[in-house]
Each structure stands twice: as C-alpha cells, then as structure tokens.
C-alpha cells in the first residue's frame, strides 16, 4: 500500500466503486502511521541526542571544576564546549521542529511557546538577580545554573503534561525536578557531574519510553 514516494497508495476504488473493508483498514493504518511519524514533535532521536548533549556539555564543565577549592567557575574551554554542544543541539531541534511543524498552525502551540519562552528567560534573569543579591560564584555559577533549569523548567513541564493527562510525560518531568533537587546536595562542582550522568540516564530512559510508545502506535 506504499507508493514510490513513501505515501500510501489508495486502493483504486473511487466514488461509488467497491472499496474492500480490509483495504480500507490497511490504508487507514498506513496513513495514520505515516502522518504521526511526520507530525512527531518528539521523535526518540531527539531525546537520544539530548542525552548525549547533556552528558558532553555538563560533563565538560564538571571536568573543569571538579578540583576547584574554592569554586571559581568553569574554564573558557569548558564553556566553549558547553555552548558549542548546545548550539548544535538547538540547530538539531530546530530542524526536527521545522520538519514536523511545516504547514501546521495552532493558536494553542503558539501560546505554549510564549509561556515556556517566558519561563526560560525568567530562569536566567533570576540567575542575574541571585548573583546581585548573593555574589557567590558557587551559587550563581555553580549550583543554580546546573539545577535551576531542571527544577523550574521541569516543574512547568510537569504541570503542562498533567493538564494534558499524559502521566508518562508528567512523570518524566517530575523525575527531572527530583534529579535537580537532589543533585544540588553535591555542591557547586560535583553537581555538574551528577546532572551529566543523571540527566543522560533519565533521557535514555525517556528515549526507551518513546520507542515503546511509537511501537504501540505502529502495532497497537
């Protein structure tokens, strides 16, 4: 039922002609599978790439700060790796989103993007405020940037997913918050290592869950 271009070929039946129910069922399943795949906003490859990104970016910072006493912050090389890996990650996400969202429009998605964008900006505005009030490298450039985005972003995502009645996605977001909260106990240097390993492991579990979810889509 699949044509040369990958789109399902309709059975030859047209208006008023016999369209076998088994052909109809096969056509419906194939069309649904392909449409879901093309509209997928979070393919497993995205979370797998995120796992690698977290491991490399946070790991690079941890390697540069692990022997610092007192904590003075990541080196220029570590920051270059962190921002370089993040830049590659952003380009990758943008490519996936462009592929999925091309031709699509939704007032709801636009509102969600604005809300999450505002939350994300506030995370880093708060970092500036924190350093202004408590000029501590260990807090403002150690613990907070490592776990702040996980706790605040994760909490927002958990609420969003709970409202959408997506318990698996909400659980993943809550696990992110929990990881951030406990990782903070490791201190300004080792928090980066804990988040690198914990975040990577969590994203690998998330990738496995997404693969399972898609398997159910395709065979369920």
């Amino acid at each position: 039922m699949t044509g040369k271009d990958g789109t399902p070929q309709a059975a030859t039946a047209e208006e008023g002609e016999v369209f076998d129910p088994r052909d109809a069922a096969a056509l419906f399943e194939e069309t649904t599978r392909q449409a879901r795949s093309r509209f997928d906003l979070m393919p497993p490859i995205l979370t797998l790439a995120a796992a690698v990104t977290v491991l490399v970016a946070y790991g690079a910072v941890w390697l540069s700060v692990r022997d610092q006493h007192p904590y003075s912050g990541p080196t220029g090389t570590a920051l270059a790796v962190l921002y370089g890996v993040l830049a590659v990650w952003i380009v990758f996400v943008a490519t996936i989103l462009h592929r999925s969202l091309s031709g699509r429009s939704s007032r709801q998605r636009r509102l969600e993007a604005v809300v999450f964008g505002a939350i994300w900006i506030s995370i880093y505005v708060f970092q500036g405020a924190l350093y202004h009030v408590v000029p501590s490298q260990a807090v403002a450039f150690g613990v907070y940037p490592a776990v702040g985005p996980l706790i605040i972003g994760g909490a927002a995502a958990a609420g969003y997913e709970a409202a959408r009645e997506k318990p698996a996605h909400a659980s993943f977001a809550v696990a992110t918050v929990v990881l951030g909260a406990f990782a903070a106990f490791a201190g300004p240097a080792d928090v980066w290592g804990v988040v690198a390993i914990g975040g990577c492991a969590l994203l690998l579990v998330g990738t496995a869950a997404l693969l399972w979810e898609r398997r159910v889509w395709h065979h369920g």
Binding site: A13, L27, G103
Partner: protein, 103 residues
Amino acid sequence: MASRMRVEELDPLIHVPARLRIVATLAALPEGDTLSFTRLQGMIGLTPGNLITHLRKLEEAGYIATEKTGNGAASLTTARLTHRGRTALEGYTAALRQLIEGL
C-alpha cells in the same frame, strides 16, 4: 448479502480512499491544529483539483473546516478536522473493525 449490507453501513463520506486518507491525516494532528492545503496535498499525493473536490464534500458534511487567509500569491488555505469529523472517524473505524471481524 448480509455482509454487503454491512459494508454499505460504513460512512460513505469517509469510505473512499482519498477522503479516508485526508481524514486520517488530519486526525493525526492534535485537536484544533490546522494543516496547510500545500502540505496536505504533499502528504496525500492528490492533484489540487481532486483534493479541493474531496475537501468540499467533507466540509459540507461538517467533518472538516477550511479557512483561507490573505490574497493572491500570499493566500493560505488551511484545513482542520472538526469535532464532528473526529467523532465520525471513530465511528467509521469501529464499524470497520466489526465488519472485518465478521468476514
């Protein structure tokens, strides 16, 4: 004869290959999301004329809603599955499943 009658009970507006693909494609979007005519055409592989004809029939039945914005070369036509269309598709697939089990 009984089987034939049951086939005829399937929603005739959806039980046509091209329209089934249109409805199935739009149903894969979250409720309320719209899809441009151009992308829908690319995914379904119909000619513009054929696609317009099928979209019109589905719109007349209230299964989809279309919207045109802009003018001339900048115009954009979008389509979305309505709540009624989603319900009709659920009824169609349930009937289809029953029918196949009986074959």
